[in-house]
Symmetry: C2
Subunit: 251 residues, 2 copies
DNA sequence: CGGGCGGTTGATGTCGGTCAAGTCGCGTGG
DNA sequence: CCACGCGACTTGACCGACATCAACCGCCCG
C-alpha cells in the first residue's frame, strides 16, 4: 500500500534542470537560480501507486514535480475517497505542510514521478532573500485555489456528463501545457476509478457516463487511461474554457 | 442586484485597527505596521447583498475584511450558482485578481461589511520589503486551499445530512474564531438558499435536510439565519474537527 | 393591503447508487 | 503451459436520494 519512495542517488543540478528551459516557465535570475540550487536537497523517485506525502505527516520537505503525474486526495474514516486535484511537472506539493502544522491531504503517484526535494526549514530564507520567488509561491497557491474553485463549481452544480467532460478537458489542458501527454499527445493516465473519486460519483455510474462520451467519439479508453480525441468538444459540453497559457512561475 | 459599494469617508488608521489587538492575530513589527498603513487606501462599506468583487473584473484593489460576513461564489452561464467559501474578518479577498489577470469568482456581502482597501500595484513592494508579510500572504493562500480541499471532500463524498452538518460546524467555527457570531454567540447569518448553493443541493432538499437537524435540536432557524445549538453534535455527525486555533497572520 | 422573500411540505419523477455478473488482459505460480 | 487471481472496464436490474413541481404560510416593508 504505502510503499516508501526512494531517493535518487544521482542528484541533478538546478542549472541543468530540464524544466527550466521550457518557454512556459519564467526565467530565473542568476541569484535566484543559485539560491534554489542550495535550497534543493535531492530528488525523489516515486513509482506508480506510491504515496509521496501522507495526510497528518509533518514532513521536513517540500517538493516540486519534475516529471510524471500525481494526485492529491483526502479520505473519510470509512474509506470514502475524494481526489482534490492532479499534479504535473512544475507544480509544487507540500506547501501546506510547510506553512501549516501538518499535511491535510495525501499525494500519490499516478505514473512514475520525479520530484525535487527542498528543505522546509530554509523556506523562510527564501522569503527573506528572494521577493520574486516569494511572489511566485503566492502565485502558485492562488492558482491552485482558482482550480479548486472550478472543481467545486463542477462537483456542486454540473451534471455527471458535464462534470466528466470538464475533468477530461481540464486534464487534457494540464497535461498539454506540461508536455506530458502520452502517445500522440492525447493520452491521460487516469483510470475510471480515479475519475469516479474526482467527480464524486460511483464507479458504475462513472463508467456509464464516460461510455457516452466514448460513444460520441470524444474519448477512447486504452491502456489504463484515456485518449482525449476531441478536447474542444469536451470543453463545449462542460461549458468551460481553460485559462489562456502564459508564462508561469516555477520553483 | 449589483449595487455599487461606497467608500468610507472616515478612514481609520491601521494603528488603531480594532482587529490588530485581537489575540488570535500575530502582532506586527513597527516597520510592518508602517508599511501596511501606507499600503492601505481606504475603507469600503458594503451593504447586505452588495457585490464586492465581480468575476472577470480586473480590480486595482485588494481587500482585507474588517467586519461582517461575505461569501465567494461562481455561476454557470445558465445561472446555476456554487458558493465556494465564506469570508470573515481577517480574511483577504481579491488576491487571485492581484496575482492572476482577472477575478475568477465574485464576492458578495452576507451582512453589512467593512473592508480595508489596498493598492494592488504596491503588492510587489510588499514582497520586496517585508518577508514576514509575504510569508503571511502565502500562509493565507495555503489555508484557503486547505479549506477548499475539505469542502470538496464534503460535496464529493458526504451525504446531504453530513454535508449540512459539516457546513454548519464549519461556519460556527469560523464565526466563533472571528468573534462575529450574533446573539448569544451562536447566530450564523446564512439563509437556506445559501446553504443549498454551498452544499450543491436544491433548496427543497436542503430545507428537508436542515429540518432534520432542527428536529434533533442541533440548530434553530430564526431571523434569516440559523442558531447553532450543538456544534459538537454537528461535528460528530459530519465526522469533522476544526483546526485547533492558533495565532494566525492578518494583513 | 399586496407583493416579495424566506421557509415548509407533499406528490411525483429521475439521476445516480447499489448489487450482481461477466469480460478482457496480464502477471504469477503450479 | 495453463489455471488462477486480480485489476480495469462493462452491463443490466433494481432502488433510493435528491430534484422538480406546486402549493402554502408568515413576516416585513412599501
Amino acid at each position: 500500500m504505502a510503499i516508501e519512495p526512494r531517493q535518487n542517488p544521482t542528484r541533478v543540478s538546478c542549472f541543468e534542470c530540464p524544466l527550466r528551459h521550457m518557454r512556459r516557465f519564467r526565467p530565473f535570475s542568476d541569484s535566484e537560480l543559485e539560491f534554489v540550487s542550495t535550497f534543493k536537497r535531492g530528488e525523489l523517485l516515486a513509482d506508480t501507486g506510491t504515496t509521496v506525502l501522507a495526510e497528518g505527516a509533518r514532513s521536513a520537505h517540500l517538493y516540486t514535480v519534475l516529471a510524471g503525474w500525481g494526485f492529491r486526495y483526502k479520505i473519510l474514516e470509512d474509506g470514502r475517497r475524494q481526489i482534490l486535484n492532479y499534479v504535473v511537472p512544475g507544480d509544487m506539493v507540500g506547501l501546506q505542510g510547510a506553512v501549516m502544522a501538518e499535511m491535510q491531504h495525501s499525494v500519490e503517484a499516478l505514473t512514475p514521478m520525479t520530484l525535487c526535494v527542498f528543505e522546509r526549514s530554509r523556506l523562510f530564507s527564501l522569503f527573506e532573500l528572494h521577493p520574486g520567488l516569494s511572489f511566485d509561491l503566492t502565485w502558485l497557491a492562488a492558482r491552485e485555489e482558482s482550480i479548486l474553485d472550478e472543481h467545486l463549481l463542477s462537483i456542486g452544480r454540473r451534471s455527471a456528463l458535464e462534470r466528466a467532460s470538464y475533468l477530461l478537458a481540464f486534464l487534457f489542458d494540464r497535461g498539454m501545457s506540461a508536455g506530458i501527454l502520452g502517445d500522440n499527445h492525447r493520452h491521460v493516465p487516469v483510470t475510471q476509478m480515479h475519475f469516479a473519486d474526482t467527480l464524486g460519483l460511483s464507479i458504475v455510474h462513472t463508467n456509464k457516463t464516460l461510455k457516452k462520451l466514448a460513444d460520441r467519439g470524444l474519448i477512447r479508453w486504452r491502456d489504463r487511461g484515456c485518449d482525449v480525441l476531441d478536447p474542444a468538444g469536451l470543453q463545449d459540453l462542460a461549458k468551460w474554457k481553460p485559462e489562456e497559457a502564459r508564462v508561469r512561475p516555477f520553483i
